[in-house]
């Protein structure tokens, strides 16, 4: 291992790296160039892992040593402010786990599944290239900046380095992304649970289970996390198994066979309650359970993929790269990149890399391992999601991911439409898949989660249990996704409420007081209404919601990444490291071009499938003519769609505007920095280690 991460230059080391490079090149060649024959997933895994190793060894360490100039002798906040609580020097492997658990989420699982509509190749190439050049660079650089600034948050760093106006703009951007993320993730859960009594029952059971865990961990055996998690896990498995009985008993199933709008209202209500209740009762126990399950399932899936080595059924490239696909609208550029988002570069991570992690780093020398390394791991999760989606029969994939407005509501219609797209599938195949996983239907289960769950159940059931357990594995996968998405929803609502209180508090100072119950209730309600509005709008969208919402989410996420990378670039100039600024300038430019193009296209594109204004105009014209256009059922529904279009258009325009103004501020700051002879970055003063950091 030391040869892989160290700087050895011996002949053996060189041979080893040559072999890794050759293996990676061969694997990538097989993945990229084979046509017709199904490719084995193992090649994808090998190519990815080789690329990660090479990227880490050569690019991450180059950035660390040359570009950022990390200095192991410099004391980190963890050492200087050590309090045993927030600031604790932490073993790098333990901290890696902490950081990875904090950045891993639904994004890298859902994005690649949706991106598979263009075939597995375009998405895979971007997941690999994007993480090496953009995503991991962003995570690591922000982690470095925050470590040098006592663990300050992204917003604070933008304010300090680029001024209060830029700071406020970034703050608005962060609030927007928060709202959209909560809405889209909740939408993924709703789409996965609609008309699925088994899934709904199991997910609902997590509430009483969390309460039991919460009471146990608070009053019976305080702080015994292992015990309470074990209890929770056993109860969860029981709920999962009993869920099958529920779904097969019509009287019981009726209670859990819910419509989209009902589920949406329940989740909005849940978000409100969970963010107001004491954390130990509901939020924390769910968080524990979902964190452990997330890490466990990701590990399990990795092992299963390596052992099972499934063939990829999806073609390398489909005809939908022209932008006519049924899963989401828009052409390869910019929308493929917007869709994948988190698996290659996620703006959200800039918030985490400037959160708790920088307060626990023992030595600056560990920044590449934790910042760059954890993001490589995240990218691997995205690759696994891509594999899971691609092991499905393409006909099944498109039947699951196209809205009912496109493929109809019966298996016969769906098979007909999907076969006409060029992915020949029979109605029997579609019903068989549903039957195998214990669902009534798998048609139009948009949102990515059900597709991922079917793929995971195929992979996992060929490892454990075979066909008999396919249903359990499917619902286990749904449960795992729903569990950690809902944990994001409740924790996110709390964060959102704080940001709203902070923002409104500027006008009404009394509103800033976070201890006040009235403020908490009002703040939480406001937060829930904001994301709930978009969630509800997505749920009643006859095109399935994901069609409209996911590109908005992707744009907001990439917008935040652009903000973070602009900050990184400005700081490199202020540090007088401009010689190496291309390291962040290249990904920043790419993200700016991507988000601005996507934002502008979402607003002004003449195709109503892509442009909100064109869609609104089409609907308005129809209203004026007294016509009701599909997917709407009445004129009032039409006017609501028009209103939603304008809201969405405003948002997309705002994202683009935020990015553009950050770029303008970035340019001004860079010019100022170039005009100043000495370094002006606002780092805390250098303090050298008396005994040297405990860097391993």
């Amino acid at each position: 291992m030391s040869a892989l991460v160290g700087n050895g230059n011996g002949i053996q080391t060189k041979l080893l790296w040559g072999a890794i490079a050759a293996l990676g090149a061969v694997s990538l060649g097989i993945v990229a160039l084979s046509r017709g024959e199904p490719v084995n997933a193992a090649w994808l895994v090998i190519a990815a892992v080789c690329i990660y190793f090479i990227a880490y060894r050569y690019y991450a360490l180059f950035i660390a040593n040359k570009v950022l100039g990390i200095n192991p002798a410099r004391l980190t906040p963890a050492i200087r402010h050590n309090d045993g609580l927030d600031y604790v020097p932490t073993n790098r492997y333990v901290l890696f786990g902490h950081h990875f658990a904090a950045i891993a989420g639904a994004g890298p699982l859902v994005g690649p599944v949706l991106a598979a509509q263009m075939g597995y190749l375009p998405g895979t190439l971007w997941i690999l290239a994007g993480v090496v050049v953009a995503g991991a660079v962003q995570d690591m650089t922000v982690l470095f900046l925050s470590t040098r600034r006592d663990g300050h948050s992204l917003g604070d760093m933008v304010r300090a380095e680029m001024g209060p106006v830029a700071g406020t703009i970034a703050g608005i951007g962060i609030l927007l992304i928060c709202i959209i993320i909560l809405a889209v993730l909740a939408l993924v859960v709703v789409q996965a649970l609609v008309g699925s009594p088994w899934g709904t029952f199991t997910v609902f059971c997590t509430l009483p289970i969390a309460l039991i865990m919460g009471v146990y961990g608070r009053f019976i055996r305080r702080g015994r996390v292992g015990e309470m998690s074990l209890i929770g896990f056993v109860l969860l498995l029981a709920a999962l198994i009993y869920g099958q009985t529920v779904s097969q008993t019509p009287e019981l199933a009726a209670y859990f066979n819910l419509s989209g709008p009902t589920l949406a209202l329940i989740i909005i209500g849940y978000g409100f309650v969970a963010s107001v209740l004491p954390v130990w009762l509901l939020l924390a126990p769910r968080d524990y359970l979902s964190t452990f399950m997330k890490i466990g399932v990701i590990t399990l899936l990795a092992i299963a993929i390596i052992i099972v080595r499934p063939d990829l059924q999806m073609p390398a490239v489909t005809k939908f790269i022209d932008g006519t696909g049924p899963v989401w609208a828009g052409s390869l550029f910019p929308f493929l990149f917007i869709t994948i988002a988190c698996g290659s570069v996620s703006g959200w991570h800039s918030l985490i890399a400037s959160g708790t992690t920088p307060k626990m780093i023992e030595s600056e020398s560990q920044i590449p391992f934790i910042g760059y390394g954890a993001m490589l791991m995240e990218s691997f999760v995205a690759i696994m999601a891509m594999i899971s989606a691609s092991v499905l029969h393409p006909g099944v994939y498109f039947a699951m991911n196209s809205a009912a407005g496109i493929i109809g509501t019966t298996a016969v219609q769906a098979a007909q439409t999907v076969s006409n797209m060029g992915f020949v599938v029979t109605p029997d195949q579609l019903t068989q898949v549903a039957h195998d996983v214990g669902e009534i239907s798998i048609l139009s289960r948009t949102g990515g989660a059900p597709t991922l769950a079917v793929g995971m159940s195929q992979i996992l059931s060929s490892l454990f249990g075979g066909q008999a357990l396919a249903g359990i594995w499917y619902h286990f996968a749904i449960l795992f996704e729903a569990l950690f998405i809902l944990t994001t929803v409740d924790a996110g609502t709390r964060v959102c409420r704080f940001m709203i209180q902070d923002l409104v508090g500027n006008a009404i100072p009394a509103f800033k007081e976070t201890k006040s119950w009235a403020n908490n209730l009002i703040g939480s309600a406001l937060a829930c209404v904001l994301w709930g509005y978009f969630l509800y709008q997505g749920v009643i969208d006859p095109l399935g919601g994901i069609w409209t919402m996911w590109p908005l989410f992707g744009t907001s996420n990439q917008m935040l990444a652009a903000i973070a990378l602009v900050l990184c670039t400005v700081v490199l100039f202020k540090m007088k490291h401009e010689r190496f600024a291309w390291v962040t300038v290249v990904p920043a430019t790419w993200l700016v071009v991507c988000t601005v193009t996507a934002g502008v296209e979402k607003v002004f594109h003449p195709n109503p499938a892509i442009g909100f204004l064109a869609h609104a105009a089409r609907m308005s014209n129809a209203i004026a003519a007294g016509q009701v256009l599909a997917p709407a059922h009445s004129l009032s529904e039409m006017s609501r769609l028009v209103f939603n279009d304008y809201v969405d258009a405003t948002l997309a325009a705002l994202f683009a505007a935020v990015v553009v103004s950050m770029v303008v501020y970035g340019f001004l700051d860079i010019r100022k920095a170039l005009g100043t002879p000495k370094a002006t970055a606002m780092e805390v003063e250098f303090a050298g280690a008396a005994v040297g950091g405990r860097n391993a």
Binding site: N82, L85, V88, N91, G105, A284, I352, G355, G492
Partner: protein, 78 residues
């Protein structure tokens, strides 16, 4: 060779223990609870005059801090 076997066994037991200790630490930190012994050690060494929280108090304090509204802690979205 019973001796050698028992030595090997003891060695593996030791390894197992280390793996367990570190896994538990990693798992705890993933949910925002840093190592308690490290905290106690820190307090004893640097602030012997100040009170030391029990594990239970420490856990509750960390739990509140992880979800404290106002600190803007972001986690697990994508």
């Amino acid at each position: 060779m019973p001796d050698l076997l028992s030595i090997k066994f003891a060695e593996w037991k030791e390894h197992g223990k280390t793996v367990k200790t570190w896994s538990v630490r990693a798992a705890r930190l993933m949910i925002g609870v840093p190592d308690y012994d490290t905290y106690v050690q820190h307090r004893r060494t640097n602030h012997p005059e100040l009170p030391i929280m029990t594990y239970e108090e420490f856990f509750v304090e960390r739990q509140e801090a992880r979800y404290a509204v106002g600190k803007g802690r972001f986690r697990g979205c994508c």
